[in-house]
């Protein structure tokens, strides 16, 4: 039986962690993710979980401790944001290449500098090539649901990769909203026990992370890439099982009113909710608009996205990060790359929005759809755009 509750995103994720009861949580506080280990350490102190809580001296140490515990066969998780994720950088690659299914709640926050505590996606987007699976969510419900599913995705025998569960700092992490929680026993049954194929401990202990020179390094990377490809299928399998449990449907991305859409938007996290409201309003005015919300950014669902965008005339790709490539931002790059050769004549502009917590309103989003219709009509448009910035 589901329980109807009102919780903030951070509370929801901490509660998911309590229900999962991991072996080890090693964490270092940073706004806006601090509450996750804070609430969890209370569960530890109250004896509501049997987890070992390791209060470390930095995020680099947090990820190092997670790697050690996961290599020993444990189920391991942590949380961080912004510069905390940046300080984990070296160890992110170690976790992924050692094929350790650590689960990390990334409460998205702008990277310094200038120093800023508010939401954008520069932290997790910077780590997009670290070999971690990245799952994004729109609200507290999705943060909770994704966190539970992440355990099963990362630990699947065909995957064995760490997973970032990303949700927006403050907007999702600190806002109280309605959501449905599973019963403790349901979560326990859903996640089961971790079965590590290799471990530092036990009957057949192995060494992990040794020197790997030209004779084998390339093959190991090739296997890692294959694991990421496998994750796509596993994400869908786990989602199907989760839907049976909860009735809530998840995929690689969510399609909202895309059936006959002429103008669409591809977007990530909380602003997708704001944009859905705009889609409803414009649909009521007879305008054929739709939206795709990316859930799995790594692995990137390129072919599926091409199919979903087959009939649109124009699609705006929304990035809450710049990327500083001198051309397009990360999601815009991925979508355009996916559409190459499959999008004759499609209009695919990118919009960078909301950096450092700049608020994004329904009017901002409506202006993007209006740009798309103007582009369809005239054929004229800017490819690279900034939304809501003072020039």
């Amino acid at each position: 039986m589901a329980k109807r509750v009102s919780l903030s995103g951070n509370e929801a994720v901490a509660y998911a962690m309590r229900q999962i009861n991991p072996d080890v949580v090693a964490a270092f506080p940073i706004t806006p993710s601090t509450e996750v280990p804070q609430y969890f350490s209370q569960f530890v102190a109250n004896g509501q979980v049997t987890s070992e809580f390791v209060a470390v001296e930095s995020e680099h140490s947090a990820m190092s401790a997670c790697i050690g515990a996961s290599a020993a066969g444990g189920r391991v998780m942590t949380a961080t944001s912004s510069c905390g994720l940046a300080l984990m950088w070296e160890m992110l690659y170690i976790a992924a290449s050692s094929r350790l299914p650590v689960v990390l709640a990334v409460v998205n926050r702008a990277l310094s500098g200038p120093i800023n505590i508010h939401n954008d996606h520069s932290d997790s987007m910077g780590a997009r090539d670290s070999g971690w699976i990245q799952i994004y969510g729109e609200n507290a419900q999705e943060a909770y649901d994704n966190f539970i599913q992440a355990i099963r995705i990362g630990e699947h025998p065909d995957v064995q990769l760490p997973v970032m569960v990303c949700y927006d700092g403050f907007i999702t992490s600190h806002a109280v909203e309605n959501l449905e929680m599973c019963e403790d026993a349901e979560v326990k049954a859903f996640v089961g026990e971790r079965v590590a194929p290799y471990s530092l401990l036990g009957e057949n202990p192995v060494a992990m992370g040794p020197l790997d020179l030209p004779p084998h390094y390339f093959e190991h990377k090739r296997q890692q890439a294959e694991a990421m490809r496998n994750a796509k299928k596993v994400i869908l399998e786990v989602a199907a099982e989760f839907e049976k449990l909860t009735g809530r449907k998840y995929g690689l991305f969510e399609e909202y009113k895309m059936e006959d859409a002429e103008a669409a938007m591809v977007i990530i996290n909380s602003t997708a909710g704001t944009a859905k409201k705009v889609v409803d309003k414009m649909r009521a005015e007879g305008k054929k608009v739709g939206l795709i919300k990316i859930r799995s950014f790594r692995p990137f669902p390129a072919e599926e996205l091409v199919a979903a965008l087959k009939n649109v005339k124009a699609v705006a790709v929304m990035d809450k990060v710049d990327g500083f490539t001198g051309v397009a931002a990360p999601l815009h790059n991925e979508v355009r790359s996916a559409l190459y050769g499959a999008a004759e004549g499609k209009i695919v502009p990118g919009y960078i929005y909301g950096l450092g917590g700049r608020d994004v309103t329904v009017n901002d989003i409506e202006s993007v759809y209006n740009d798309l219709f103007k582009a369809i009509e005239t054929g004229k448009y800017e490819v690279y755009n900034y939304l809501g910035v003072r020039e």
């Binding site: 009102s6 806006p32 505590i117 609200n139 927006d168 403050f170 600190h174 806002a175 109280v176 909710g273």
Partner: protein, 189 residues
């Protein structure tokens, strides 16, 4: 009631405006409504102006932006009227509630707003019932009374449960908080 009610809170760090917005969300949630309660965070320091928001609806809430055209504005600290545009975007058929010892007619002169103006002396109520200045409980009662977003009876029943839970270690303060709520429902004008 309308399908969506949007409320903006203005207070100063440490006065409990954020807590009040979360309490309102909690009470409305218990009546089965969809709720959002969220603060606009800045550098957090005692006394600095802060803003918090509520959306309350009988339909799922999806918009995740701040609120620019609220139905109601609650001003927990009247000195903010001079430094913060508290009535910005406030709907004409909405209302503003100010914590002050002044009358609505007096405070109206300080506001750029033609709609309904309510006042409540939350400081006095709080000091007389709770023995200290905790304005958020009286302000919560005032916004419920003025907005009608939930009934007074539902507020009182739910808050008694919340207070009993919150003050499990000092049950003697529960009746005082309930008195503050009841007086506030009477004294908002």
């Amino acid at each position: 009631m309308a399908k969506l009610v949007e409320i903006r809170w203005h207070g100063r760090g440490g006065q409990g405006a954020k807590t009040a917005s979360l309490l309102l969300a909690e009470v409305a949630f218990k009546t089965g409504m969809y709720i959002q309660g969220f603060p606009e965070y800045g550098p957090e320091r005692m006394g600095a102006p802060i803003t918090a928001y509520n959306r309350i609806s009988d339909e799922p809430l999806r918009v995740h932006s701040n609120i620019y055209e609220p139905d109601y504005v609650v001003v927990v600290d009247e000195t903010l009227i001079k430094s913060v545009p508290v009535t910005a975007g406030l709907k004409k058929d909405g209302a503003i509630i100010v914590n002050t010892s002044k009358t609505p007619e007096e405070i109206r002169k300080e506001l750029k707003y033609d709609g309904r103006v309510y006042t409540i002396d939350a400081r006095k109520i709080s000091e007389e019932t709770l023995g200290a200045n905790f304005p958020n409980t009286p302000m919560l009662a005032a916004v419920v009374k003025v907005s009608g977003v939930i009934s007074e009876e539902v507020l009182l029943n739910n808050m008694e449960d919340s207070f009993k839970h919150k003050f499990a270690n000092k049950p003697q303060v529960v009746p005082k908080n309930m008195e503050a709520l009841k007086r506030s429902l009477q004294e908002v004008k």
